[in-house]
Symmetry: C2
Subunit: 214 residues, 2 copies
């Protein structure tokens, strides 16, 4: 299997980094091919601008989604977007590794969705969900939180984690990618060494179980 | 009343721009003070990095939220963040004007939340929700969508718009800001001139009604 890990954390000593490394090790040991988009290391630009399709003919009035489709169909897409699309097209499974910041993905990852999942590439007119352009791929969100698990119950502080992850999962479904069960590492800041080790083992088990579901 | 409009769209001819201008006109006509954070015009950097608190003492292991608090308390925060915090602190009402991209805010706005709503500034230990550090402020999300209104019913294509806006509304509530009823301009790409005019009038009415609720 071909696996792309899209990794969005700024700190090499973070638990996010450890989870990313764990996924690489586990997957490679099982003889899967792994590629990584390390968004911070790549200095990935998350801000959608008209520079994303600089040489494309301008359709007035300029509308970002319309211009995406035009630029994609005529091969006028910025190099950094093409590089990400190439990796995403290559993979069977994409893992998103990120910390939950303000109940969603960090901006650098949000912008990856904004810019990479272009109209014409990831979806098109009436080509979404079951007929989305990225079907036959699956995804796993691997997410760390600061608050403990109990904060993410429906009746508690932050509400159901499913509700919080809904926009990202729905995005994936829209382009045809099937989200598998997410992995949640809750309260990572308060974990001791033993708990971190256990969490990495839980992640290994989670990945194996989800992948074997194929 | 003091109103901050945080505006996140790349195109001056967009309907988002028209809604932003409408808000300015309506509010100023009612003798409210208005300031605007035009994130694209400001080339606002949405990516959280350690440069956000360059002169702050480093606490090992580096954790972004912990560093935020440390930097804020010791006045080591990047200038662009301070400028946004100053406007947010000044206002009684903050309006977020943005297009719904992948069922959430564009990355440039997501990063405004990531970087501006710092620990120590917007919330602190046990200081959240009713005791958040930005209480006595209210917010309105003014959001455009590509899909029509019917796509955002609970039983339809994208699910309930309330569910989609939940992470942003919950963020605001967490820091003590009370979200008022959002304004949704659905299917803006398919509106004709008359429908756009009507929508701007609806927005004027919405703003007046929400503000008078005080």
């Amino acid at each position: 299997m071909r696996v792309l890990i899209v990794y969005a954390h700024l700190e090499p000593h973070s638990f996010n980094h450890a989870l990313k490394e764990q996924a690489i090790n586990v997957l490679q040991a099982a003889r899967h091919e792994v590629r990584v988009s390390d968004l911070y290391a790549q200095s990935f630009n998350p801000v959608a601008t008209w520079h994303d399709f600089e040489r494309a003919a301008v359709i007035q009035p300029r509308q970002y989604g319309v211009m995406q489709r035009e630029a994609y169909l005529h091969h006028h897409v910025a190099e950094d977007i093409i590089a990400e699309q190439e990796k995403l097209s290559w993979c069977d499974l994409v893992i998103f590794q990120f910390p939950l910041w303000w109940f969603s993905a960090p901006a650098i990852l949000k912008g990856w969705f904004d810019r990479v999942l272009m109209a014409g590439y990831a979806y098109d007119k009436e080509k979404w969900f079951a007929t989305g352009l990225l079907t036959s791929r699956r995804a796993i969100l691997s997410v760390t939180t600061q608050s403990p698990k109990s904060a993410y119950d429906a009746s508690n502080m932050h509400g159901d984690i499913k509700q919080i992850l809904y926009p990202v999962h729905h995005t994936l479904r829209f382009v045809g990618i099937m989200p598998l069960s997410p992995f949640l590492a809750y309260g990572v800041m308060n974990m001791d060494t033993q708990e971190r080790r256990q969490c990495l083992m839980d992640y290994q088990l989670h990945l194996s179980e989800q992948i074997e579901k194929k």
